[in-house]
């Protein structure tokens, strides 16, 4: 390799990349240190499992969001779709086996994503506005389907509520589910054509298109995945409460986006991974949990959460800006 000055920005870039790779983990470790010094309860297995169970829905949405963001898009509909999923699963579980109701619910979520995806990929509508529309449509559909009333699953939903309450090897089922989805996502993103193309499209869609690859198909696919996972997050919610509700998941899309971005993914697409997104989800959960343990009032929590997200982002991006 010749040593030309053009290589230099690159060696600096690598250092930056290292910060971006390990930044989320460092933030998490620091946060865990602070948390354990502030509260004796925090580091107990019970509490940690509680944190994980609370974020399992957000986690699923974050995985879908990660795929979308990697293609340089955004999906604002996930919160509403999760509500729609919660309502549908509660309704359907009374008419059919849960083994059928849950996949069907996910299919509806995927269909919502598919519609957004087709508008975005083939008709070139901006993802922000398209999924904003999908957000109100899905919310409205959830309210219509439920008549605006919470839907008790009752006896028919026993299998689902068992899933929400139970655990295996000390780890709650929803956490197992989230973990599995994260591992699958990680494998897909790292080792398969699909994952590689999704990231390539986010970096430079035109170059991918001019290599004879159908960019639109991948784009549609990521929105469908995001929709399906959001609906599944809705099922998790009803599994924990036994109720299908059209009012859950308000603002959940922002949590999912925050988790992905804290996890070092670039909103400009092409960069991000499953492990760091998981860490991002966990960081959000720990912060919320910590504030509960410290008895921070609810309204204040929102303000703190925002400030902490900005702090995490500064670590991610500010370091790059300061290095100039």
């Amino acid at each position: 390799m010749t040593t030309t000055p053009t290589n230099l920005p690159n060696s600096r870039f690598n250092l930056q990349a290292a910060i971006q790779n390990f930044g989320p983990a460092i933030i998490l470790v620091v946060l865990l240190g602070i948390a354990s010094s502030m509260s004796d309860v925090f580091l107990t297995e019970r509490n940690l499992m509680n944190v994980l169970r609370q974020v399992s829905g957000t986690g699923l949405m974050a995985v879908g969001m990660l795929f979308v963001i990697l293609t340089r898009g955004i999906d604002l509909s996930v919160g509403s779709v999760s509500a729609f999923g919660s309502v549908l699963s509660a309704l359907w579980v009374q008419q059919m086996m849960p083994g059928l109701a849950v996949p069907l619910t996910m299919l509806v979520g995927a269909a919502v994503g598919l519609c957004s995806g087709i508008l975005i990929a083939y008709l070139k509508l901006p993802s922000f506005v398209t999924t904003l529309a999908a957000m109100t449509i899905a919310r409205g559909a959830a309210l219509i389907a439920s008549n605006g009333q919470p839907i008790r699953m009752g006896k028919a939903g026993d299998a689902i509520t068992y899933f929400g309450a139970g655990s295996f090897a000390g780890v709650p089922y929803p956490v197992w589910l989230m973990g599995t989805v994260f591992v699958l996502a990680g494998v897909v993103l790292t080792f398969t054509r699909f994952g590689r193309m999704v990231k390539a499209i986010g970096s430079n869609a035109e170059a991918v298109r001019l290599s004879g690859i159908s960019v639109a198909r991948y784009e549609v696919a990521v929105y469908a995945i995001s929709g399906a996972l959001a609906a599944l997050a809705g099922v998790i919610s009803s599994s924990r409460t036994g109720i299908g509700s059209a009012t859950i998941g308000v603002g959940a899309e922002l949590d999912a986006i925050a988790a992905v971005v804290i996890g070092g993914a670039s909103l400009l697409g092409g960069r991000g991974g499953a492990t760091n997104t998981f860490i991002g989800v966990f960081i959000l959960g720990v912060i919320a949990n910590l504030m509960n343990l410290a008895n921070v009032p609810g309204y204040h929590q929102q303000v703190f959460m925002g400030v902490i997200i900005v702090g995490a982002m500064l670590l991610q991006y500010g370091t790059a800006a300061l290095r100039r």
Binding site: F191, A207, L210
Partner: protein
């Protein structure tokens, strides 16, 4: 006359890397001083030192006879040193006048006066551009004029032009050269960086050649030839640039295009390319060459006409169809269209044909992929840190080789090159020419779009010329000359065959 700029013994190291290892350079008022050298020779680093972006590790900067330390780009600008970048540093959504006076806009803008002053500055350069036009709506050439006007408004005494004509058509390049001449008359000192040596020989009073971070010679224009310059830059004469001709016998027709058209951009274009043949597409920028090859590849959809490849009529709805049929395109803009810069060499190389490297469920067989990439890298003499190195870490020439590797891997029947050596240094150019010839020698059809005439003449078996969207004629090797090509390319000249 005293030098306006005098650089002595400039050294610049980044960590252990020595980008500049002793450069002497001086510039007199009212002269055009060309800076030549291959990519990586240190031209840009030197200009960044002069522009105040880098502080030299060693050496002296003397401005107007006074030893000076530049504290930053702003300092350099205040002392009258302006770099006109290749990539425009203008705000596309603002008007021409706003851009020119951007740094000094008053809080309350008097539009009439502003427009008048802008128009005046532009007129001085011999152009008429509406001062209230949005810069984004202007041609690249006119944007350059705006940038020069901006520099003039800031009383620039030293202007650095970094490859200004690389993005211009022949006509616009001519006009730019006349502007530079006018600036020289006004006493502005100009540093001119270009890979186009014919141009350099026309405009420059003196030339300094950089090689491996050192200034190897400064020569006056009188009596210097292109061959001399190339020998100083790379140690090889021009005739060696295109290499030994591999014997090629054109075979069956591979590509047949009939009556292809799209709007006003491409009108009723017909052509054919045979196996083993290299056909050039010449013309001015904007003549529709890029648009035509994009239609053939399927990147845009044609309104009329047909494309036939190896006797099969193609239905081209997207590049998916073009690639499936066996067509490859190395697009005009490597960075925006040809490569995913932040991704690895391997990803870029195998992207267009990943299928043979897949295991069930879409898993990529990494080992097999690396083997393919290494094999291609060896064949193309790619200089890199390995298949996983990001493409952004490569030089322009090596980046273009990755684009080539991609289509070698697909093994296309027809390869289209759009400006294959833009922004590539002389050494790498010659390697790319050799690869294109090799490709043709293996019985593939090749179509080359280029704005550099000697490139078309040196590379192609025949050259088609386009003007205003239509193919206006064909040149065979015995008719190769700049004059003949321009006759066909220039609007208003008779439609000679």
């Amino acid at each position: 006359m005293t030098e306006i700029v005098k650089l002595t013994g400039i050294r610049k190291s980044f960590g252990g890397v020595h980008a500049l290892r002793g450069v002497d350079f001086d510039l007199r008022p009212g002269e055009v001083h060309a800076l030549l050298g291959e990519n990586g020779a240190g031209k840009s680093t030197l200009m960044r030192v002069l522009g105040g972006e880098y502080r030299p590790t060693e050496g002296e900067i003397v401005l107007d006879g006074t030893l000076t330390e530049l504290s930053g780009p702003h300092d350099a600008k205040n002392r009258g040193i302006t770099v006109i970048h290749q990539e425009m540093a203008l705000a596309g959504d603002l008007t021409v006048a706003e851009n020119i006076f951007l740094g000094e806009l008053p809080g309350l803008i008097g539009w009439r006066g502003l427009y008048a002053r802008a128009a005046e500055l532009i007129a001085e350069l011999g152009f008429a551009i509406r001062p209230d036009a949005l810069v984004g709506s202007l041609s690249v050439a006119h944007q350059q004029v705006v940038e020069i006007a901006k520099a003039l408004s800031q009383n620039a005494r030293v202007m650095v032009f970094d490859e200004p004509t690389a993005v211009l058509s022949v006509q616009d390049a001519e006009r730019l050269l006349s502007i530079i001449d006018a600036l020289r008359q006004k006493g502005v000192a100009i540093i001119y960086i270009s890979h186009r040596l014919d141009e350099v020989l026309r405009i420059a009073d003196r030339m300094t050649i950089l090689k491996d971070g050192q200034s190897v010679a400064t020569v006056a224009r009188e009596g210097v030839t292109i061959d001399d310059l190339i020998r100083l830059m790379v140690g090889r004469p021009l005739s060696a640039l295109f290499g030994e001709d591999v014997p090629r016998t054109p075979g069956d027709e591979v590509l047949r295009v009939e009556g292809l058209g799209r709007g006003q951009a491409v009108r009723d274009a017909s052509l054919s390319v045979r196996a083993g043949e290299i056909v050039g597409l010449g013309g001015l920028v904007g003549a529709g060459r890029t648009e035509l090859v994009r239609l053939i590849f399927g990147a845009d959809r044609a309104d009329t006409g047909t494309v036939t490849l190896k006797g099969k009529r193609l239905k081209l709805r997207s590049p998916v169809d073009g690639v499936r049929a066996g067509i490859g395109l190395a697009p005009e803009s490597r960075k925006d269209q040809g490569l995913i810069l932040d991704k690895s060499i391997a990803i870029n190389t195998t992207m267009a044909r990943l299928k043979p490297l897949l295991a069930p469920l879409g898993f990529i067989r990494r080992k097999a992929e690396h083997a393919v990439v290494n094999e291609l890298g060896g064949r193309l003499r790619l200089k890199s840190a390995g298949p996983d190195a990001p493409v952004s870490s490569l030089s322009g020439g090596n980046q273009q080789k990755v684009v080539l590797a991609k289509w070698f891997h697909v093994d296309v029947d027809l390869m289209i090159f759009d400006e294959p050596t833009r922004g590539v240094d002389v050494g790498a150019k010659s390697e790319i020419y050799a690869l294109i010839k090799q490709f043709a020698a293996r019985g593939r059809a090749v179509l080359v779009v280029s704005s550099e005439h000697h490139e078309l003449f040196g590379l192609c078996d025949r050259v088609l010329v386009m003007r205003e969207g239509a193919i206006t004629g064909e040149l065979s090797p015995d008719a190769y000359s700049e004059e003949n090509l321009l006759k066909l390319a220039m609007p208003g000249v008779g439609q000679a065959a």
